[in-house]
């Protein structure tokens, strides 16, 4: 029988074990923070070198992107226009469809259909994006060309549409989770006033799930902006300052692929451009994440 005085002493072996576990957990957490910091550090450092050769105003306002030519121009707008155009097309597909699917699965589908449909939907998100890329190039583009015969073989439209299909599962699945988290009491309150299912879904459940749905959209946007393979394969990798989806174009990501695959010598300005492009991409997604964070805070519902 241990006396109280014994128990008040420090148990050294337990204390030691706790410290070891704490250290391991800290290291795991530290590693991810360190990696992020290191990536940002390298991007900024390499971009710094780039910006010593190219003025920031040229980078932001030049309307040509020709880093590999003798007469080099470094206007990021050209790549940004490709990223924005393809992302807009993707979001025009993914946000309406994803939201409708989420409303159906959460509010209308019987249990049995939901149990089958949701895993299939999530499977759609597991398809490697290179397959989507070939699908866009070899199936969707020829199909679109039947309707618009003058559409070039490489274009932002079909890449964007297929990218939208790729993003649907993220938008739908996260939005559905947000809607399902709305308490049944709110739905019952709505039904009890004589509302139909559609009215309940659109007027009570969706507004109550706004923060989660907004987060789903933001994630969709981040994926669209960061998507690489589909655009590299189907959109043509030709830098082109355009907001017309029927034209070929290069995005920030597909340019990075192009340069990383090419035989550019280390330390050349051409090589350095990919860091500047990468930094732009990161700032862009950071902005969206901040918007997402703000939306979640603003629309967070207390049930």
């Amino acid at each position: 029988m241990p006396q109280p005085s014994d128990r008040l002493k420090k148990d050294f072996s337990r204390h030691f074990k706790e410290r070891v576990i704490e250290a391991i957990l800290f290291l795991a957490a530290f590693l991810s923070v360190f990696t992020t910091t290191a990536i940002v550090y390298i991007l900024v450092k390499e971009s710094w070198i780039f910006f010593q050769h190219v003025p920031l105003t040229d980078f932001l306002f030049d309307t040509q992107w020709t880093p590999l030519f003798d007469d080099a121009h470094y206007g990021i707008m050209v790549l940004l226009s490709g990223t924005i155009t393809s992302s807009m097309v993707a979001l025009l597909v993914a946000i309406p469809l994803g939201t409708i699917i989420a409303i159906y699965l959460s509010e209308f589908a019987p249990f049995s259909i939901r149990e089958i449909a949701k895993p299939f939907l999530e499977l759609l998100g597991g398809i490697p994006t290179i397959i989507y890329g070939y699908f866009a190039l070899l199936f969707v583009t020829p199909l679109l060309q039947k309707v618009f015969p003058e559409l070039p073989g490489f274009n932002l439209l079909s890449a964007g549409m297929v990218m939208g299909v790729m993003i649907i599962p993220y938008v739908a699945s996260l939005s559905e989770d947000a809607m399902r988290a709305v308490p049944m009491a709110l739905r019952e309150g709505s039904y009890a006033t004589g509302a139909t299912r559609l009215q309940t879904a659109l007027r009570v459940v969706v507004p109550a799930a706004t923060s989660g749905i907004a987060a789903a959209y933001i994630l969709g946007i981040s994926r669209a902006v960061g998507e690489t393979m589909i655009l590299a394969v189907a959109a043509g990798m030709q830098p082109n300052l355009t907001f017309n989806p029927a034209e070929p174009g290069a995005t920030i990501t597909s340019f990075i692929v192009q340069v990383a695959l090419g035989d550019l010598p280390h330390g050349s300005i051409g090589y350095q451009t990919i860091f500047a492009a990468g930094l732009t991409l990161m700032l862009l997604t950071l902005v969206f994440n901040l918007i997402g964070f703000y939306m979640r805070k603003k629309y967070r519902e207390v049930y």
């Binding site: 249990f111 009491a185 309150g189 006033t193 004589g194 139909t196 007027r203 009570v204 507004p207």
Partner: protein
Amino acid sequence: MIEINMQETQLPLKAEARNLSFFYGSFQALKNVNMPIYEKRVTSLIGPSGCGKSTYLRCFNRMHDLYPGNRYEGAIDFHPDHTDLLSPKVDPIEVRMRISMVFQKPNPFPKSIYENVAYGLRVRGESARSVIDDKVEAALRSAALWGEVKDRLNEQGANLSGGQQQRLCIARALATDPELMLFDEPTSALDPIATASIEELITELKEKVTILIVTHNMQQAARISDYTAYMYIGEMVEFGETDQVFIKPNKKETEDYITGRFG
């Protein structure tokens, strides 16, 4: 069988349950319930947890239709048009347009105070601002909330205190001029002061509307209701005028429950 003893048998009926049985899948939660609901009176349902009072209440607005595997038997005859509320031919949405409900836990929608009250009107397709303004004000006045919220109708309903939220839910249920209001333990999540205000409100509301209330609190049933039904394991054990049920119950089981020997 239940015995119905009444002095005022001439009162008009608002609804009448006839041989009402209810099943959650294969589990029978209500067994052959027969009970009258008198117009513009407060009828309370008492009984221990799990006795089927809430299940019974939720038959009236067909709330059980929202979940699969539920089944009704028997009928609820709704006056004056003698609609059988439980008939498969009757649209539950039509039923809920005439019978509104207030829940145990206040459940304001994530909308402004104004829009919470206007909700029922909007889902009925009302869009005239002046009509909605008038009805919202009238409902908030009837729910004794107007004075507290008239200057902040655009604030979120969730910002109100618990008792105010429940009165907001009552206003929401009143705004559509229901014929019958169902209250499912409306004060069990509230403090005694908020409870007293809701009880007072219910007593005032019966001038305009018939009320059926489930309560865990026997004193509450005694204070606010004209008729009381005691239920036990899915059966209606006794129904009668509240004074008679509490002072001189006909059944031994009712007496045991009321005097606290059981439950």
